[in-house]
Amino acid sequence: MTSDGGFEGARVRLVRTFNTGIDHLFACFADPVLVARWWGPRSMHCPHAENDFRVGGRYRFEMQDDDTASRIAVIGEYLEIDRPHRIVCTWQWEGTPDEVTRLALVFNARGPRATVLELTHDRFPSTDRAGAHEQGWESSLDGLAAVLAA
């Protein structure tokens, strides 16, 4: 289930306020030098981060376990960039080419040292397109039904 409850989202959605300005928080995701300083949950660190930060550019961030030294990398492509408000990219654990998902980060300034970050991670890069396609098909079916009923 999502943190919102139920399947209203069918996606991961997190919202948190960070105690820093919007430009700095955005840079924490955009600048690989900064990414490498914090990327990785507790017990992991980031030995290498690189990216080509433009639409169509790619990124690769590594994580290494402090104890076992096992490594995993995440890779992807930037789909939308609107500095310092929005980053949308694909997300793929290196070595799993079938599982490309979509990550969206939206930054909202709340003060010189407060920024709200909304993260949405869903299963399909083309979720919106799938929804739009479905709605188009439905109105065709309804139109057909109306004609047949007449």
Partner: protein, 114 residues
Amino acid sequence: MLPGPTPVDRAFAALAHPVRRAIVDRLLDAGELTVGAIAAPYDMTNPTISRHLKILEKAALIERTVVGRTHHCRVSEAGIDAVAAWIRRHETFWRGQFDALERYLEDEARTHDE
């Protein structure tokens, strides 16, 4: 390994539509509903509702039993569990990432104050 969508892919594709998500939510609440009860709140034709239910069935998110002429639908535990597991795993990962980012920002702020 065959090419093409995996079961979890199909489940998420099915849940990409707000009406289908709402149907699944209502079935999770109600346990079981007839097709008539599912269709009731919507200003939608029968073929359209049928199509939504077929997509959910093919994605192994709901199961249907027929009693006489009435179709009863309920959630398929296995299908729902696969989706929930993906969401849970990634939610845990991102919470950990946010915690790490917070720690980094706190350390940085402390260093600047010194």
